[in-house]
Amino acid sequence: MGTIWVYAEASDGKVASITLEMLSRARELSDTVEAVVGGAGEPVAAELGAYGASTVHATGDLNGGLAGPAVASAMAEAITAGAAPDAILFGTTYDGRDVAGRLSVKLNAPVITNVVELQSEGGSLVGTEPVFGGTVNVRTRFSGTAVRLFLIRPKSFAAEESGGGPATVSTLAVPDLGVTGTARVVDCFAEESTGPKLDEAGVVVSGGRGLGEAEKFAMIEELAKLLGGAAGASRAIVDAGWVPYSHQVGQTGKVVKPDVYLACGISGATQHMVGMKGSKTIIAINKDAEAPIFGVADLGIVGDVHKVLPKLIEALQARS
């Protein structure tokens, strides 16, 4: 296998975990792993190198432009000029999808999406994707000869350092984007968050519609705090406006794989489960004994969250 490019994302100089996961897997599949970043290369060269990237192709500051058109055009131009990655891996993230989508048109190459496993078969990469809410796995390979583009789901691979030195920074020129580059970020807003990040926490406590009303989410937050974890949510209560989208666990939210996942008043729709089924231990509280969530729970409590949670919080407070 020749060269694999990994589309790298970072914020505040810290490389995203999905990027480190992809670099780690790419290293096992290929001798040469290079990163491509839409931004400055120097601040991330050491971390990218430590996870196996020999080179980081960096566009430099995008000046408020979106990554999609800029990075895709830069990659396409480099490929036309002779760079020949066999495959490019993108995270299933806001920008990852944009870049992959734009690039696929530029190269007239399809994208294999929602990939959770990558294997090398006959010198070519094959992706595995869950369908029907994760009940069936399909393996997909490319039939053409274009560069292989894969969109990878977060938490599919373990991130492991390679012990490599800093990646060499090389400039990846962004050509004139014309009208496609005219969208501009004019302001950024961060939602307040305390405690560990949802997708990195060792314990995740999530609440769903069974909580009954927005105010009751405070119990979820309290419990998460007592356990040193993060608070998550089902899409039902995100759509209802009880909690911000950043809490959402599932197919269209975050994928979490904590040591312990506690689902409170969540039915266990397939789209929720694809985001948490990989947790080491799952505990569920639901008043309906038939709720699908019990099908994956290591410990299921058939009961009322309004009764069980206050007692659980009290018992844990008494210990600390």
């Binding site: 995203a16 999609g68 806001y94 999808r97 944009d98 989508g101 734009r102 048109v105 530029k106 007239n108 399809p110 994208v111 999406t113 929602n114 094959v126 369908v131 029907f132 069936v136 796995n137 399909v138 393996r139 997909t140 490319f142 039939s143 009208v179 496609t180 580059g181 005219t182 969208a183 501009r184 970020v185 302001d187 950024c188 939602e191 899409r235 995100v238 759509d239 406006g241 989208y245 950043s246 269209t252 312990v260 506690l262 799952i282 505990i283 509280i285 004994a289 099908g295 994956v296 410990l299 299921g300 409590i301 058939v302 009961g303 069980v308 949670l309 007692k311 659980l312 018992a315 844990l316």
Partner: protein, 259 residues
């Protein structure tokens, strides 16, 4: 303001169908409905049209078997007309093939804004809107959780890891919306009746000037080589709470050394 909304028609998620064991694609011979994900785009378009006080909302869909059921739902909500691309040659299209067809169909209109959902409920590749934008040579903003228009620009709150970004983008543009961006209305009885007589333009692949071998099976650059059931997680202990259920949780957390 003229707005195009992409509307995917899919099998009812409550009855998702199955993979055809021979062709390894989704069986699609049942009645299709409008993807709930797209009802947000339709609602958003109606609100923007009404706020502008002029213009039309056109729905665009690519679907097999001349299916119009899902498009009728969008027309019943209040969209003005619909374009359906339906053609035998389209069976087996991948996301890029789908985007090529949709972009060509949208190209027949004069849209100021093209709306789509961030991802469909059944395919969820999440790449079609951005591919449409690139094919049409338009700027785009994905993951919109709020949209306004102002002086020929669209102002979008775009979801991010940390919160959201405020993005300004000149129109025409493609914007993909997340669920919850607006609350989709239920069609009224009057709307349902009116939908029956709204214009429904049916076009074929050759009408769009696309060669049949560039889309569908022939054009898809990927193939499924294997289908297998995912490993299942086994259910554990289920206890009915009689007032002491929380103790079982504490005990397990202790065993796992979380507390």
């Amino acid at each position: 303001m003229d707005i195009v909304v992409c509307v995917k028609q899919i099998p009812d998620p409550a009855d998702p169908g199955e993979l055809n064991p021979e062709t390894k694609t989704l069986k699609r011979d049942m009645k299709l409905i409008m993807d709930e994900s797209d009802s947000y785009g339709v609602e958003m378009a109606l609100q923007l049209r009404d706020a502008a006080g002029e213009g039309e909302v056109t729905l665009v869909s690519m679907a097999p078997h001349e299916e119009v059921n899902g498009l009728r739902s969008g027309l019943a909500m209040g969209a003005d007309k619909a374009i359906l691309v339906s053609d035998e040659a389209l069976a087996g299209s991948d996301a890029l093939g789908t985007a090529k067809v949709l972009a060509a169909a949208i190209g027949r209109t004069q849209a100021d804004l093209v709306l789509a959902a961030t991802e469909s409920s059944d395919g969820y590749t999440g790449t079609v809107p951005e591919q449409i934008a690139e094919l049409m040579g338009l700027p785009s903003v994905t993951f919109a959780k709020e949209i306004k228009t102002e002086d020929g620009e669209v102002l979008v709150k775009r979801q991010t890891e940390a919160g959201y970004d405020e993005v300004r983008c000149p129109m025409p543009a493609v914007v993909s919306v997340t669920a919850g961006v607006v609350e989709p209305r239920y069609p009224s009885f009057k709307g349902i009746m009116a939908a029956k007589s709204k214009p429904m333009d049916q076009v074929s692949v050759s009408d769009l000037g696309i060669q049949a071998d560039k889309v569908g099976w022939a054009g898809a650059g990927q193939e499924i080589t294997d289908v297998s059931p995912a490993p299942e997680r086994e259910a554990g202990e289920i206890i009915t709470d009689e007032g002491e259920g929380h103790q079982n949780i504490v005990a397990l957390l202790e065993e796992l050394r979380i507390v």
